[in-house]
Amino acid sequence: MLSIKNLHASVEEKNILKGLELEIKPGEVHAIMGPNGAGKSTLGYVLTGRDGYSVEQGSAELDGVDLLELEAEERARAGLFLAFQYPVEIPGVSNLEFLKASVDAVREARGEEALSSKDFLKMAREASKQVNLPADFLKRGVNEGFSGGEKKRNEILQMLLLKPKLCILDESDSGLDIDALQVVAEGVNSQRSPDRSFIVVTHYQRLLDYIKPDFVHVLADGKIVKSGDYSLAHELESQGYAWLKDQPADEAATNDVAEG
């Protein structure tokens, strides 16, 4: 599904990703954890093609398609989705208009027929219900005046409608109370399927208790330094990241390759 090889990327001439390797097969859920500033959010931005992030070396392919050659919108149409850590507020553009434009664009790219306004509205209402957002949120400006939790649920709503191949959730659990966390987790779990994969970026094990990942990786200083199964998340939760300092980065990377 996703194959990232030796990815080096920088923002404002500062190197953030320094040789990242990651292989994700269809249906797998990978959690990425790690200290602040390790490059977790950068990975999402680089993969989705945000301006200002330049790739110096390496490759990233989604089902054999070179993502790095595509415009941001083409990557989305190829099946990539990022649930933002800080979803953007766009006053004046209604959520419904925004959702319709994106679903239309993605369906067209897949060669599917455009939905009628009526069918779309029905689908959007059902998805809102699933993420526990009142239907009148569809009429409001995109994320305008939404609480932190409502914004995160709106991201999951978009994921439900766009049906991407690969979803990256960038700290979708940050700032959420336990109820909102469950809504996010249930949204993700409902979409798990043999042909859809997830990258769940998080600081905390809490979300991973609801979304049981197949693999857990530790991202530090721009590389994956340790990989393991779900139990690694528990280990990190109890030990923190202090041990990283005692471990030479090169050795850690070697471990990663051996396990991956």
Binding site: D51, A72, E73, R77, I90, V93, F98, S102, A105, V106
Partner: protein, 418 residues
Amino acid sequence: MSNWLNGAVARAESVSDWLAPKRQASLALLREAQWPTRKTEAWKYIPINVWDRTELQSDAVEVNAVAESIEGLNSIDLVFVNGELTSDLNDELPAGLSIVSLADASADAQSWAAETFASVKPSRHLFGLVNDVLATQGVLIDVAAEAVIEQPIRIVNVLTQDSEAHTRVLVRLGQNAKASVVEQFCGNQRSKNTGFAEYKVGESARLEHYRFALQTGESLSIGGSHFELATRAELNSTLVGFGSTLQRVDVDVTHAGEHAFAKLNAIYLLDGKELFDLHSTIEHAVPHGTTEENVRGIVADNSRAVFNGRIHIHRDAQKTLAELNNRNLLMSDRAEIDTKPELEIYADDVRCAHGATIAEIDKTALYYLQSRGVSRSQAQIMLNFGFINELVDEMPNDVLAEWLRPQLRDRFAAMEVK
């Protein structure tokens, strides 16, 4: 001096009607007036010389133009084609509403209209004086005290190739009256027009006002909407302007009675080499007045917008609340915006704020939309539309908002970031 202005003064000398005393006073001012140059502050950024230079072929004027009605608006339409009133004013009107042609005014209408004429509009506007002396066509709209007129009154000015027109609108709202007036200008061919309107809004009366300055292309258009608000009067006005070779609109409001409220929203959208100049002056002459003015513009390609917004709070106007905000989106590095919000405050117990911003399109929002599969160009249109749509949403008349939106969309679709 301007040849055109000399000609206008000469033409004005032969105008003789019931407004003669008023016209003579303006003509005297006009004879003394200086033709604006680049050093004239009020015309600093917009080259008025194009008005003088543009020659109209007077034998080529097309008169068979029609104004389309606005579906679902159910308005009382008053249509001027090249300055000639083509609507029949004999239709039955709602109780409390009187509309007469300026050229054919009854004695009753003449008495209030002569008093109103050139009393609300400040005499500093050169082309306002031109309109004073040349506008022999127009309408006089009188809304009786306590009358609530649900049907919007729509005044349409259609300008065709090589036409020149000067029209005047005078509106009076009695105590507790309520009305909605739409001034609409259309045409994209070479033409010149001045269209000025004066509104006297009575005590506790409510006026909903729209000025759609939608002339484009080679048309040259200068005009204004001027308001005087009595005690507790309410004005809700929306101006929408497209640019053309020359477009200038002046919006002036005088708070003449205490506790009056003025909400002024304005939008301009320019492309190509279009110009649009909006000047507004709000006079808070008495205490307890409120003004909320929000102006937003999008300026693309080689176009140029000017906004000059002045709020003048007189010494006695204590407890005034006034806010003036101008936000602009710049779509190209060749486009230009000259914005100058001015607060002039002589009272010490007031709450006022003003600001102006000029920004490029929000890159983060653009990326957010693209990351959901929306193309860059469509995302730009959506963001531009959103920026403007906030003010369209605030229009009290939903039918007009629905009528306007597709026209704005068409204009956005033609714009691109360069």
